[in-house]
Protein backbone atom coordinates (compact mmCIF):
# COMPACT_ATOMS: atom_id res chain seq x y z
CA UNK A 1 0.00 0.00 0.00
CA UNK A 2 2.71 2.45 0.91
CA UNK A 3 4.63 2.09 -2.29
CA UNK A 4 1.42 2.64 -4.29
CA UNK A 5 1.00 5.89 -2.35
CA UNK A 6 4.65 6.71 -2.90
CA UNK A 7 4.18 5.83 -6.55
CA UNK A 8 1.16 8.17 -6.75
CA UNK A 9 3.04 10.98 -5.00
CA UNK A 10 5.99 10.37 -7.23
CA UNK A 11 3.73 10.41 -10.25
CA UNK A 12 1.60 13.43 -9.46
CA UNK A 13 3.58 15.57 -7.04
CA UNK A 14 7.31 15.84 -6.66
CA UNK A 15 9.04 14.81 -9.81
CA UNK A 16 5.66 14.24 -11.31
CA UNK A 17 3.00 16.25 -13.09
CA UNK A 18 2.67 19.19 -10.70
CA UNK A 19 6.37 19.86 -10.28
CA UNK A 20 7.05 19.60 -14.00
CA UNK A 21 4.25 22.00 -14.99
CA UNK A 22 5.12 24.53 -12.31
CA UNK A 23 8.81 24.35 -13.13
CA UNK A 24 8.10 24.71 -16.83
CA UNK A 25 5.98 27.82 -16.38
CA UNK A 26 8.51 29.26 -13.92
CA UNK A 27 11.38 28.72 -16.33
CA UNK A 28 9.42 30.28 -19.21
CA UNK A 29 8.53 33.30 -17.09
CA UNK A 30 12.10 33.79 -15.91
CA UNK A 31 13.38 33.40 -19.44
CA UNK A 32 11.02 36.09 -20.78
CA UNK A 33 11.91 38.43 -17.92
CA UNK A 34 15.66 37.98 -18.42
CA UNK A 35 15.39 38.51 -22.18
CA UNK A 36 13.43 41.72 -21.52
CA UNK A 37 16.01 42.91 -19.04
CA UNK A 38 18.78 42.18 -21.51
CA UNK A 39 16.91 44.33 -24.02
CA UNK A 40 16.84 47.10 -21.46
CA UNK A 41 13.09 46.97 -20.87
CA UNK A 42 10.93 45.94 -17.94
CA UNK A 43 9.35 42.83 -19.44
CA UNK A 44 6.30 40.83 -18.39
CA UNK A 45 5.83 39.40 -14.91
CA UNK A 46 7.18 35.96 -14.01
CA UNK A 47 3.67 34.53 -13.96
CA UNK A 48 2.94 35.69 -17.50
CA UNK A 49 3.05 32.15 -19.04
CA UNK A 50 0.48 31.08 -16.39
CA UNK A 51 -1.78 33.96 -17.35
CA UNK A 52 -1.32 33.15 -21.05
CA UNK A 53 -2.35 29.54 -20.40
CA UNK A 54 -5.42 30.56 -18.37
CA UNK A 55 -6.42 33.15 -20.95
CA UNK A 56 -6.14 30.63 -23.77
CA UNK A 57 -8.32 28.22 -21.80
CA UNK A 58 -10.89 30.94 -21.50
CA UNK A 59 -11.20 31.57 -25.22
CA UNK A 60 -13.51 29.89 -27.71
CA UNK A 61 -12.07 26.96 -29.69
CA UNK A 62 -12.70 27.26 -33.44
CA UNK A 63 -12.30 24.05 -35.44
CA UNK A 64 -11.69 25.00 -39.09
CA UNK A 65 -13.58 23.27 -41.88
CA UNK A 66 -10.57 21.48 -43.39
CA UNK A 67 -9.37 20.30 -39.99
CA UNK A 68 -9.74 16.73 -38.83
CA UNK A 69 -11.54 17.10 -35.51
CA UNK A 70 -10.21 14.03 -33.73
CA UNK A 71 -6.52 14.61 -34.43
CA UNK A 72 -6.83 18.40 -34.22
CA UNK A 73 -8.01 18.30 -30.60
CA UNK A 74 -6.10 15.14 -29.66
CA UNK A 75 -2.64 16.29 -30.76
CA UNK A 76 -2.04 18.85 -27.99
CA UNK A 77 -3.12 16.43 -25.27
CA UNK A 78 -0.95 13.68 -26.79
CA UNK A 79 2.03 16.02 -26.98
CA UNK A 80 1.55 17.03 -23.34
CA UNK A 81 1.19 13.42 -22.15
CA UNK A 82 4.29 12.29 -24.06
CA UNK A 83 6.34 15.15 -22.65
CA UNK A 84 5.26 14.45 -19.10
CA UNK A 85 6.10 10.76 -19.43
CA UNK A 86 9.48 11.72 -20.90
CA UNK A 87 10.08 14.03 -17.95
CA UNK A 88 9.26 11.22 -15.51
CA UNK A 89 12.14 9.11 -16.81
CA UNK A 90 14.67 11.82 -16.05
CA UNK A 91 16.09 11.23 -12.56
CA UNK A 92 15.83 14.37 -10.47
CA UNK A 93 18.88 14.89 -8.25
CA UNK A 94 17.25 12.90 -5.53
CA UNK A 95 17.71 9.90 -7.79
CA UNK A 96 14.03 9.14 -7.32
CA UNK A 97 12.93 8.13 -10.78
CA UNK A 98 11.30 5.31 -12.62
CA UNK A 99 14.25 4.69 -14.86
CA UNK A 100 15.13 1.18 -16.05
CA UNK A 101 17.73 -0.26 -18.32
CA UNK A 102 17.87 1.47 -21.71
CA UNK A 103 15.62 4.45 -21.04
CA UNK A 104 17.97 6.99 -22.63
CA UNK A 105 16.74 5.81 -26.01
CA UNK A 106 13.16 5.85 -24.76
CA UNK A 107 13.58 9.52 -23.74
CA UNK A 108 15.13 10.29 -27.14
CA UNK A 109 12.22 8.70 -28.94
CA UNK A 110 9.60 10.26 -26.63
CA UNK A 111 10.99 13.71 -27.49
CA UNK A 112 10.79 12.74 -31.17
CA UNK A 113 7.22 11.53 -30.59
CA UNK A 114 6.37 14.91 -29.00
CA UNK A 115 7.64 16.61 -32.17
CA UNK A 116 5.57 14.20 -34.25
CA UNK A 117 2.48 15.05 -32.16
CA UNK A 118 2.93 18.73 -32.97
CA UNK A 119 3.43 17.86 -36.63
CA UNK A 120 0.33 15.67 -36.79
CA UNK A 121 -1.64 18.41 -35.00
CA UNK A 122 -0.63 21.05 -37.52
CA UNK A 123 -1.15 18.65 -40.44
CA UNK A 124 -4.66 17.91 -39.16
CA UNK A 125 -5.45 21.63 -39.11
CA UNK A 126 -5.30 21.65 -42.90
CA UNK A 127 -4.04 25.19 -43.36
CA UNK A 128 -1.25 25.85 -45.88
CA UNK A 129 0.66 27.90 -43.29
CA UNK A 130 0.59 24.85 -41.04
CA UNK A 131 1.89 22.76 -43.96
CA UNK A 132 4.94 24.99 -44.31
CA UNK A 133 5.27 25.12 -40.52
CA UNK A 134 5.33 21.35 -40.13
CA UNK A 135 7.93 20.91 -42.85
CA UNK A 136 10.13 23.44 -41.07
CA UNK A 137 9.53 21.68 -37.76
CA UNK A 138 10.63 18.43 -39.38
CA UNK A 139 13.80 20.05 -40.77
CA UNK A 140 14.53 21.39 -37.29
CA UNK A 141 14.04 17.88 -35.88
CA UNK A 142 16.41 16.35 -38.43
CA UNK A 143 19.00 19.00 -37.75
CA UNK A 144 19.09 18.68 -33.95
CA UNK A 145 18.70 14.87 -33.89
CA UNK A 146 22.27 14.13 -35.04
CA UNK A 147 24.15 16.14 -32.39
CA UNK A 148 21.61 15.10 -29.73
CA UNK A 149 22.25 11.43 -30.48
CA UNK A 150 26.01 11.92 -30.52
CA UNK A 151 25.89 13.60 -27.11
CA UNK A 152 23.80 10.77 -25.67
CA UNK A 153 26.23 8.21 -27.09
CA UNK A 154 29.19 10.15 -25.67
CA UNK A 155 27.65 10.23 -22.19
CA UNK A 156 26.64 6.57 -22.52
CA UNK A 157 30.18 5.63 -23.50
CA UNK A 158 31.73 7.67 -20.68
CA UNK A 159 29.46 6.38 -17.94
CA UNK A 160 29.47 2.81 -19.27
CA UNK A 161 33.23 2.34 -19.24
CA UNK A 162 33.36 -0.29 -16.56
CA UNK A 163 30.02 -1.95 -17.31
CA UNK A 164 30.07 -5.32 -19.03
CA UNK A 165 28.90 -4.01 -22.37
CA UNK A 166 31.15 -0.96 -22.51
CA UNK A 167 28.16 1.30 -22.90
CA UNK A 168 25.11 2.11 -20.83
CA UNK A 169 21.73 3.27 -21.90
CA UNK A 170 20.22 3.72 -18.45
CA UNK A 171 19.85 7.05 -16.71
CA UNK A 172 20.24 5.45 -13.27
CA UNK A 173 23.57 4.00 -14.32
CA UNK A 174 24.71 7.41 -15.62
CA UNK A 175 23.71 9.18 -12.41
CA UNK A 176 25.26 6.46 -10.23
CA UNK A 177 28.54 6.56 -12.18
CA UNK A 178 28.65 10.33 -11.85
CA UNK A 179 28.05 10.23 -8.12
CA UNK A 180 31.03 7.88 -7.79
CA UNK A 181 33.65 9.59 -9.89
CA UNK A 182 32.50 13.16 -10.29
CA UNK A 183 29.84 14.62 -12.60
CA UNK A 184 30.75 14.27 -16.24
CA UNK A 185 31.06 18.00 -16.79
CA UNK A 186 34.31 17.88 -14.86
CA UNK A 187 35.83 15.37 -17.22
CA UNK A 188 37.76 17.33 -19.88
CA UNK A 189 36.50 15.04 -22.64
CA UNK A 190 32.92 16.04 -22.02
CA UNK A 191 33.24 19.82 -22.34
CA UNK A 192 32.49 19.88 -26.11
CA UNK A 193 29.54 17.55 -25.56
CA UNK A 194 28.14 19.92 -22.93
CA UNK A 195 28.49 22.87 -25.29
CA UNK A 196 26.85 20.86 -28.08
CA UNK A 197 23.98 19.97 -25.75
CA UNK A 198 23.57 23.65 -24.85
CA UNK A 199 23.18 24.40 -28.54
CA UNK A 200 20.74 21.52 -29.09
CA UNK A 201 18.32 22.58 -26.33
CA UNK A 202 16.97 25.81 -27.95
CA UNK A 203 16.36 24.12 -31.28
CA UNK A 204 14.60 21.17 -29.65
CA UNK A 205 12.25 23.51 -27.80
CA UNK A 206 11.87 25.96 -30.69
CA UNK A 207 13.24 28.98 -28.84
CA UNK A 208 13.73 32.28 -30.59
CA UNK A 209 16.82 31.98 -32.74
CA UNK A 210 15.72 28.54 -33.99
CA UNK A 211 11.91 28.88 -33.90
CA UNK A 212 11.62 28.42 -37.66
CA UNK A 213 8.45 26.38 -37.08
CA UNK A 214 6.41 29.11 -35.33
CA UNK A 215 7.87 32.16 -37.08
CA UNK A 216 5.13 34.78 -36.54
CA UNK A 217 6.51 37.23 -39.03
CA UNK A 218 7.13 34.79 -41.85
CA UNK A 219 4.39 32.15 -41.77
CA UNK A 220 1.96 33.58 -39.20
CA UNK A 221 2.46 31.18 -36.28
CA UNK A 222 3.37 28.27 -38.59
CA UNK A 223 2.25 25.09 -36.90
CA UNK A 224 -0.20 26.80 -34.53
CA UNK A 225 -1.97 28.96 -37.14
CA UNK A 226 -5.37 27.33 -36.79
CA UNK A 227 -5.24 26.72 -33.07
CA UNK A 228 -7.28 28.87 -30.67
CA UNK A 229 -8.62 28.42 -27.16
CA UNK A 230 -7.80 25.42 -24.95
CA UNK A 231 -5.74 23.39 -27.52
CA UNK A 232 -3.56 26.43 -28.08
CA UNK A 233 -3.16 26.82 -24.32
CA UNK A 234 -2.08 23.19 -23.98
CA UNK A 235 0.44 23.60 -26.82
CA UNK A 236 1.91 26.68 -25.14
CA UNK A 237 2.09 24.64 -21.91
CA UNK A 238 3.91 21.91 -23.81
CA UNK A 239 6.38 24.53 -25.00
CA UNK A 240 7.12 25.51 -21.39
CA UNK A 241 7.26 21.90 -20.13
CA UNK A 242 9.76 21.08 -22.87
CA UNK A 243 12.03 23.77 -21.43
CA UNK A 244 12.01 21.98 -18.09
CA UNK A 245 12.47 18.53 -19.68
CA UNK A 246 15.51 19.55 -21.69
CA UNK A 247 17.19 21.46 -18.86
CA UNK A 248 16.50 18.61 -16.41
CA UNK A 249 18.00 16.21 -18.98
CA UNK A 250 21.08 18.41 -19.19
CA UNK A 251 21.40 18.45 -15.40
CA UNK A 252 20.98 14.68 -15.19
CA UNK A 253 23.49 13.99 -17.98
CA UNK A 254 26.20 16.46 -17.07
CA UNK A 255 25.67 17.49 -13.44
CA UNK A 256 24.53 14.11 -12.15
CA UNK A 257 26.98 13.84 -9.29
CA UNK A 258 25.89 16.75 -7.14
CA UNK A 259 22.90 15.15 -5.41
CA UNK A 260 23.00 15.48 -1.63
CA UNK A 261 20.85 13.23 0.50
CA UNK A 262 17.96 15.50 1.50
CA UNK A 263 15.06 15.63 -0.92
CA UNK A 264 14.27 19.33 -0.41
CA UNK A 265 17.84 20.48 -0.96
CA UNK A 266 17.98 18.40 -4.12
CA UNK A 267 14.80 19.99 -5.43
CA UNK A 268 16.18 23.47 -4.80
CA UNK A 269 19.48 22.51 -6.38
CA UNK A 270 17.62 21.22 -9.43
CA UNK A 271 15.62 24.46 -9.72
CA UNK A 272 18.72 26.64 -9.48
CA UNK A 273 20.68 24.61 -12.00
CA UNK A 274 17.75 24.55 -14.41
CA UNK A 275 17.48 28.32 -14.24
CA UNK A 276 21.18 28.73 -14.88
CA UNK A 277 21.06 26.37 -17.84
CA UNK A 278 17.96 28.11 -19.22
CA UNK A 279 19.75 31.44 -18.97
CA UNK A 280 22.85 30.12 -20.66
CA UNK A 281 21.33 28.31 -23.57
CA UNK A 282 17.99 30.02 -24.20
CA UNK A 283 18.06 33.58 -22.91
CA UNK A 284 21.44 34.63 -24.23
CA UNK A 285 20.90 33.47 -27.86
CA UNK A 286 17.36 34.88 -27.74
CA UNK A 287 18.60 38.33 -26.78
CA UNK A 288 21.57 38.34 -29.11
CA UNK A 289 20.77 37.08 -32.55
CA UNK A 290 17.82 37.19 -34.93
CA UNK A 291 15.93 34.18 -36.26
CA UNK A 292 17.92 31.81 -38.46
CA UNK A 293 16.92 30.90 -42.00
CA UNK A 294 15.77 27.32 -42.50
CA UNK A 295 18.87 25.99 -44.21
CA UNK A 296 21.14 27.96 -41.90
CA UNK A 297 19.69 26.05 -38.95
CA UNK A 298 20.33 22.76 -40.71
CA UNK A 299 23.86 23.67 -41.81
CA UNK A 300 24.70 25.06 -38.34
CA UNK A 301 23.67 21.89 -36.53
CA UNK A 302 25.08 19.35 -38.93
CA UNK A 303 28.48 20.99 -39.22
CA UNK A 304 29.40 23.02 -36.13
CA UNK A 305 27.44 21.39 -33.32
CA UNK A 306 27.85 17.82 -34.57
CA UNK A 307 31.58 18.38 -34.86
CA UNK A 308 31.64 19.39 -31.19
CA UNK A 309 29.72 16.29 -30.17
CA UNK A 310 31.93 14.05 -32.34
CA UNK A 311 35.09 15.50 -30.79
CA UNK A 312 33.88 14.61 -27.33
CA UNK A 313 32.77 11.12 -28.45
CA UNK A 314 36.21 10.42 -29.92
CA UNK A 315 37.92 11.88 -26.86
CA UNK A 316 35.94 9.55 -24.61
CA UNK A 317 36.86 6.74 -26.98
CA UNK A 318 40.55 7.47 -26.75
CA UNK A 319 40.58 8.19 -23.04
CA UNK A 320 39.01 4.81 -22.33
Amino acid sequence: MTNVLLYAVHLFLFPGLLFIVVMGLLLAGIDRKLVARMQNRVGASILQPWYDFLKCCGKETIIPRHARKGLFLGAPVACFVILISAALFIPVFGGLSMSFEGDVVVILYLLTAAGVAIIVGSAASGSPFAGVGLSREMVAMISYELPFVLVLLAVGALCGQDSAYGVTFSMDEIVRWQTENGSSLLHPAMIPAAIAMLFVIPCEIGMHPFDIAEAETEISEGTLTEYSGAPLGVFKLCHCVKMYVMTALFCALFLGGLSTGILLVDALLEVVFCIIVTFLCMTVPHAICARFKVEQVFKFYWTFVSALALISLLLVWIMR
Binding site: A36, M38, N40, G43, I288
Partner: protein, 169 residues
Protein backbone atom coordinates in the same frame (compact mmCIF):
# COMPACT_ATOMS: atom_id res chain seq x y z
CA UNK B 1 32.58 34.28 -34.69
CA UNK B 2 32.05 37.52 -32.78
CA UNK B 3 28.82 37.61 -30.81
CA UNK B 4 27.34 40.95 -31.84
CA UNK B 5 25.51 42.30 -28.81
CA UNK B 6 26.81 40.09 -26.03
CA UNK B 7 28.63 42.85 -24.16
CA UNK B 8 25.82 45.34 -24.55
CA UNK B 9 23.13 42.91 -23.39
CA UNK B 10 25.05 41.93 -20.27
CA UNK B 11 25.52 45.59 -19.44
CA UNK B 12 21.78 46.12 -19.91
CA UNK B 13 21.07 43.18 -17.63
CA UNK B 14 22.40 44.99 -14.65
CA UNK B 15 21.45 48.58 -15.57
CA UNK B 16 18.05 50.13 -14.88
CA UNK B 17 15.61 49.52 -17.74
CA UNK B 18 14.86 52.61 -19.77
CA UNK B 19 11.07 52.07 -19.85
CA UNK B 20 8.94 54.96 -18.69
CA UNK B 21 6.62 54.11 -15.86
CA UNK B 22 3.79 55.76 -17.79
CA UNK B 23 0.52 54.26 -16.69
CA UNK B 24 1.79 54.37 -13.10
CA UNK B 25 2.50 58.11 -13.08
CA UNK B 26 0.90 60.86 -15.16
CA UNK B 27 1.64 60.83 -18.87
CA UNK B 28 4.99 62.46 -19.66
CA UNK B 29 4.72 65.91 -21.21
CA UNK B 30 4.86 65.99 -24.95
CA UNK B 31 7.65 67.80 -26.68
CA UNK B 32 7.40 71.56 -26.88
CA UNK B 33 5.27 72.73 -29.77
CA UNK B 34 3.50 69.34 -30.04
CA UNK B 35 0.27 69.55 -32.03
CA UNK B 36 -2.16 67.71 -29.81
CA UNK B 37 -5.81 68.18 -29.01
CA UNK B 38 -7.36 71.35 -30.44
CA UNK B 39 -8.51 74.20 -28.20
CA UNK B 40 -11.16 76.61 -29.53
CA UNK B 41 -11.89 79.89 -27.91
CA UNK B 42 -15.38 80.96 -29.10
CA UNK B 43 -15.07 84.58 -27.92
CA UNK B 44 -12.30 85.46 -30.37
CA UNK B 45 -13.98 83.77 -33.33
CA UNK B 46 -15.61 86.01 -35.89
CA UNK B 47 -17.09 83.20 -37.93
CA UNK B 48 -15.05 84.16 -41.01
CA UNK B 49 -15.03 80.44 -42.11
CA UNK B 50 -11.31 80.49 -43.12
CA UNK B 51 -10.58 77.45 -40.94
CA UNK B 52 -13.33 75.43 -42.55
CA UNK B 53 -12.13 76.30 -46.00
CA UNK B 54 -8.50 75.48 -45.27
CA UNK B 55 -9.08 72.21 -43.33
CA UNK B 56 -8.14 69.32 -45.65
CA UNK B 57 -10.17 66.54 -44.01
CA UNK B 58 -13.14 68.94 -43.50
CA UNK B 59 -13.09 68.07 -39.83
CA UNK B 60 -14.75 71.37 -38.90
CA UNK B 61 -18.54 71.83 -39.03
CA UNK B 62 -20.43 74.96 -38.28
CA UNK B 63 -24.04 75.29 -37.19
CA UNK B 64 -25.79 78.57 -37.21
CA UNK B 65 -29.01 79.04 -35.23
CA UNK B 66 -30.68 82.42 -35.84
CA UNK B 67 -32.11 83.87 -32.67
CA UNK B 68 -35.18 86.00 -32.52
CA UNK B 69 -33.41 89.40 -32.27
CA UNK B 70 -31.46 88.72 -35.46
CA UNK B 71 -28.40 87.41 -33.56
CA UNK B 72 -26.87 84.10 -34.64
CA UNK B 73 -25.82 81.33 -32.30
CA UNK B 74 -22.85 79.74 -34.05
CA UNK B 75 -21.34 76.52 -32.84
CA UNK B 76 -18.08 75.21 -34.32
CA UNK B 77 -17.36 71.50 -33.73
CA UNK B 78 -13.87 70.13 -34.43
CA UNK B 79 -13.91 66.32 -34.93
CA UNK B 80 -10.63 65.06 -33.47
CA UNK B 81 -11.01 61.68 -35.14
CA UNK B 82 -10.89 63.16 -38.60
CA UNK B 83 -8.35 65.91 -37.82
CA UNK B 84 -4.79 65.40 -39.09
CA UNK B 85 -3.35 67.91 -36.58
CA UNK B 86 -1.67 69.93 -39.33
CA UNK B 87 -2.37 73.21 -37.57
CA UNK B 88 -3.39 74.94 -40.85
CA UNK B 89 -6.58 76.16 -39.17
CA UNK B 90 -4.78 77.89 -36.34
CA UNK B 91 -2.27 79.47 -38.75
CA UNK B 92 -5.03 80.90 -40.97
CA UNK B 93 -7.26 82.00 -38.13
CA UNK B 94 -6.83 85.75 -38.14
CA UNK B 95 -8.13 86.06 -34.63
CA UNK B 96 -5.95 83.19 -33.30
CA UNK B 97 -9.08 81.53 -31.84
CA UNK B 98 -7.74 78.00 -32.49
CA UNK B 99 -4.67 76.71 -30.71
CA UNK B 100 -3.37 73.14 -30.62
CA UNK B 101 -2.50 72.12 -27.08
CA UNK B 102 0.04 69.40 -26.26
CA UNK B 103 -2.56 67.02 -24.84
CA UNK B 104 -2.06 63.86 -26.91
CA UNK B 105 -4.19 61.52 -24.83
CA UNK B 106 -7.17 61.44 -27.22
CA UNK B 107 -8.54 58.02 -26.32
CA UNK B 108 -12.21 57.10 -25.98
CA UNK B 109 -14.89 54.82 -27.20
CA UNK B 110 -17.99 57.00 -27.68
CA UNK B 111 -17.90 59.50 -30.51
CA UNK B 112 -18.73 62.47 -28.27
CA UNK B 113 -15.45 62.63 -26.40
CA UNK B 114 -13.60 63.28 -29.66
CA UNK B 115 -15.51 66.45 -30.51
CA UNK B 116 -14.18 69.85 -29.46
CA UNK B 117 -16.88 72.46 -29.88
CA UNK B 118 -17.61 76.00 -28.86
CA UNK B 119 -20.61 78.25 -29.42
CA UNK B 120 -20.87 82.01 -29.39
CA UNK B 121 -23.56 84.48 -30.12
CA UNK B 122 -22.69 86.75 -33.02
CA UNK B 123 -24.49 90.04 -32.50
CA UNK B 124 -26.63 91.11 -35.36
CA UNK B 125 -25.15 94.03 -37.33
CA UNK B 126 -26.42 97.48 -36.07
CA UNK B 127 -29.81 98.41 -37.45
CA UNK B 128 -29.51 100.87 -40.36
CA UNK B 129 -30.63 104.44 -39.29
CA UNK B 130 -33.00 104.96 -42.12
CA UNK B 131 -35.65 102.69 -43.37
CA UNK B 132 -35.54 101.86 -47.07
CA UNK B 133 -38.45 104.25 -47.83
CA UNK B 134 -36.62 107.13 -46.27
CA UNK B 135 -33.60 106.13 -48.29
CA UNK B 136 -35.68 106.35 -51.44
CA UNK B 137 -36.99 109.80 -50.58
CA UNK B 138 -33.50 111.08 -49.71
CA UNK B 139 -32.21 109.78 -53.01
CA UNK B 140 -34.94 111.56 -55.01
CA UNK B 141 -34.31 114.83 -53.20
CA UNK B 142 -30.60 114.67 -53.89
CA UNK B 143 -31.29 114.03 -57.57
CA UNK B 144 -33.69 117.03 -57.80
CA UNK B 145 -31.18 119.32 -56.13
CA UNK B 146 -28.48 118.23 -58.53
CA UNK B 147 -30.75 118.95 -61.57
CA UNK B 148 -31.48 122.49 -60.29
CA UNK B 149 -27.76 123.22 -59.85
CA UNK B 150 -27.06 121.96 -63.34
CA UNK B 151 -29.74 124.30 -64.85
CA UNK B 152 -28.20 127.30 -63.13
CA UNK B 153 -24.75 126.42 -64.49
CA UNK B 154 -26.17 126.27 -68.07
CA UNK B 155 -27.50 129.88 -67.78
CA UNK B 156 -24.10 131.52 -67.18
CA UNK B 157 -22.27 129.30 -69.70
CA UNK B 158 -24.46 130.55 -72.65
CA UNK B 159 -23.13 134.21 -72.67
CA UNK B 160 -19.48 132.87 -72.77
CA UNK B 161 -20.31 130.74 -75.88
CA UNK B 162 -21.89 133.83 -77.51
CA UNK B 163 -18.63 135.80 -76.99
CA UNK B 164 -16.56 133.00 -78.51
CA UNK B 165 -18.84 132.92 -81.56
CA UNK B 166 -18.48 136.66 -82.01
CA UNK B 167 -14.80 136.49 -81.78
CA UNK B 168 -14.58 133.90 -84.48
CA UNK B 169 -16.84 135.93 -86.92
Amino acid sequence: MILPYLGQSFKNLFSKPVTEAFPAGDPPKAAEGYRGRLHYDPELCINCGMCMRVCAPQAITREIVPLENGDQQITFTYDMTSCTFCRMCSDFCTKKAITLTDDYMIVGSAHEDFLVSGTFIKAAPPKPKFTPEQLEAMKKAAAAKKAAAAAAADGEKKPEEKAEAKGEE
